[in-house]
Symmetry: C2
Subunit: 401 residues, 2 copies
């Protein structure tokens, strides 16, 4: 029998407890042992829950219980999740988590602490909800492939909003309100719509793929709040969908770049059909080519599936994952502008697109939209200057994936 503790009895914590109960028999068959939740830490009481008797308000009851060998941290945020995780790892207990903020900010330190004490720190649930992506990236592709790039739709809230805007023609504000009403967006949605949530997740994927955790604040991050409805209309006409894409790319020996920004995604691209609250992660390896992982990126049950997967892998001897990475040093992170890209450019005040290099063009209501050939940042800047010098105004610039 393996005793575990669950920290935080919110959406993810209670989902995990429920899964471990519902699927207890198949889990026992898989590990050869029963996994039992011994304690649940929360500030509140849950008198009506079938697990009321397991609730404790005292972290020490878990930290000092030698029978508890694994804890699921589902508190979220940095404090006190960091202090609790450190204390548990130092006591030799393994910790699994869905807490992307903590992994992105303190993962390197926590992994080192876990290794030092013979424990595991696992975080499959921190990226892509229930989609298996961290472990496949490490165990199936790790070492056997040089990972060249990762492109992900990693935030279900923004993808839901963009899908509603595209398919139902609603405004950003209305789509956001719907997302909140359906429980897909927080009351304060800024971490989602400003791209920070996706930024933390791509940082984690970059660390798994490249062995170095970038500083989240060093990743150029743009959310979806500055998109114009007309950009969506042009995307549709030109054969694209606007998606919030988080990217990490190898950029020469020991270097990589990362970014989060809304992109024009071509119809033939594997991420194009990833709609609504679904997430998709496209990984390109030097041997495997393009591989995509797709599924529900959030929600109690999918996230619980990933949390439970980590617990079960730790419980099954030898299956736990030890990651080791370092924090990225200065100069290891390059700006995405080192790569040339196609761009979507919308402008007004220039008669037509004469002289503007364009692979596709559309015009409506006094605006012209073009898809440029691949341009360096310098070439893009020169093009913008050219439009200005011809009396025009640049209204939107988005990267084409």
């Amino acid at each position: 029998m393996i005793h575990i503790a669950v920290l935080g009895f919110g959406v993810v914590g209670s989902g995990t407890v429920k899964l471990l109960h519902d699927n207890a028999e198949s889990i026992r068959r898989r590990c050869g042992e029963e996994i039992r939740v011994k304690k649940i830490l929360d500030l509140r009481d849950f008198p009506d829950s079938p697990y009321a008797s397991l609730i404790t308000h005292d972290f020490a009851e878990i930290a000092e219980d030698p029978s508890i060998t694994v804890a699921a941290e589902a508190i979220g945020g940095i404090h006190p999740a960091l202090e609790f995780t450190l204390a548990l790892l130092r006591a030799g207990k393994s910790v699994v988590t869905s807490n992307k903020e903590l992994v992105a900010a303190h993962g390197t330190e926590l992994l080192a602490e876990a290794e030092k004490h013979g424990a595991y720190y696992c975080f499959e649930a921190s990226v892509g909800g229930g989609i298996p992506v961290i472990r496949p990236l490490k165990e199936d592709l790790g070492g056997t492939n040089a990972i060249e790039r990762i492109d992900g739709i990693l935030n279900g809230t923004t993808n839901y909003i963009l899908t509603e805007m595209k398919e139902k023609g609603v405004s950003f504000e209305k789509a956001l309100r719907q997302a909140q009403e359906n429980g897909y967006a927080e009351a304060d949605p800024s971490a989602d719509i400003e791209g920070l949530d996706a930024c933390r997740k791509i940082a984690i994927l970059a660390a798994v793929a490249f062995g170095r955790m970038p500083d989240v604040s060093a990743i150029p991050t743009e959310g979806i709040t500055r998109l114009r409805e007309r950009d969506g209309a042009f995307a549709e006409r030109l054969g694209y969908a606007i998606k919030l894409i988080a990217t990490a790319r190898r950029a020469g020996e020991g270097k990589f770049s990362a970014a989060v920004r809304p992109c024009f995604v071509p119809r033939e691209h594997p991420l194009y059909p990833v709609s609504g609250v679904f997430n998709g992660v496209l990984v390109k390896g030097n041997y495997v080519g393009d591989v995509m992982f797709y599924g529900r990126g959030a929600g109690a049950e999918p996230t619980a599936s990933a949390v439970a997967g980590d617990i079960v892998n730790i419980a099954e001897a030898g299956k736990g994952n030890r990651f080791s990475w370092t924090d990225a040093a200065e100069g290891e992170m390059l700006p995405p502008s080192v790569f040339p890209h196609r761009y979507y450019l919308a402008f007004s005040g220039v008669s037509g697109a004469a002289g503007i290099p364009a692979e596709r063009t559309s015009a409506a209501d006094g605006e012209t939209a073009v898809i440029t050939p691949p341009l360096t940042r310098d070439e893009l800047a020169a093009l913008q200057t050219e439009i200005l010098s011809r009396g025009g105004e640049v209204l939107s610039v988005l990267e084409v994936l």
Copy 2:
């Protein structure tokens, strides 16, 4: 240093040797040990290959070399792959393979033999080429989710043919010829186009998901040779694509069903955009919901990626996968007809579709096509009888996914 042998120096075998050479440094970092190919078994000589000196024609040189601990079987087919695999496992050597035919026919016996001798028998490369699917199904979703169903596009040749027919309007014969010219189809393409290759793969996925390996000959299997060009035209008009879908479903306690057949796949379905030589595997778990794995299902490099992944996992202490399943007993496999389905039905000779239950209808050139509501097999049979009794002729019946 870990010494391995490669059996068969064809597409997969030579791809594996090349990968282990090209990515040697990252593999060494991953496992902490170098992996070196010591012997390559093939009937032929390869005087111009950089690996010519490793070629042997004598299996005993591998079986009796105590320094070789892992072998990659890339011979294909049943004989002599079965005898070689058995001999290696009995000598305590682990075997990894891309040989779906052998795994589907003798997997149960070979896994038992591996376990008995403390060795591994791994076959990630046998399904979906380079796409990680066997290990995620076992390690990420295994135990923590009751797998409810698996639907896969598992054969790249047929998917290429169907995609060409749909997108370029070419005939089956022409698309097949193109596939052969591009190296996507064998000179004798029957195992692909008759559905047998997909059938073996869904049998393997069913065994991993449900713990019992069905007899391949008990799985209702229909290929793509009987499709009419007009079925493709109706699919297009009604909002579907025709794909060869392999399905395994839980069907009550201890029972499951499996089938391979061309289906009408709705535009909103995650498998709809899986085109050309790509494969996609959609897995539904009771907690994770829908998860899809997508990538190149064949080819030297993707398949080598999966073969190498198994080798590296065995080399890394504790990471090897021991599967245990039994052969399905009588009564465990149910026909897919236990589930009601929507159907595409094309018929002629009945005036319109009056009285035929239809969610969508299309008509052209004297034929009527309908998408029925969900019907049991009995209801479908009754409907076909009804059409006949009204002087009509049923021209096509396909399941809607």
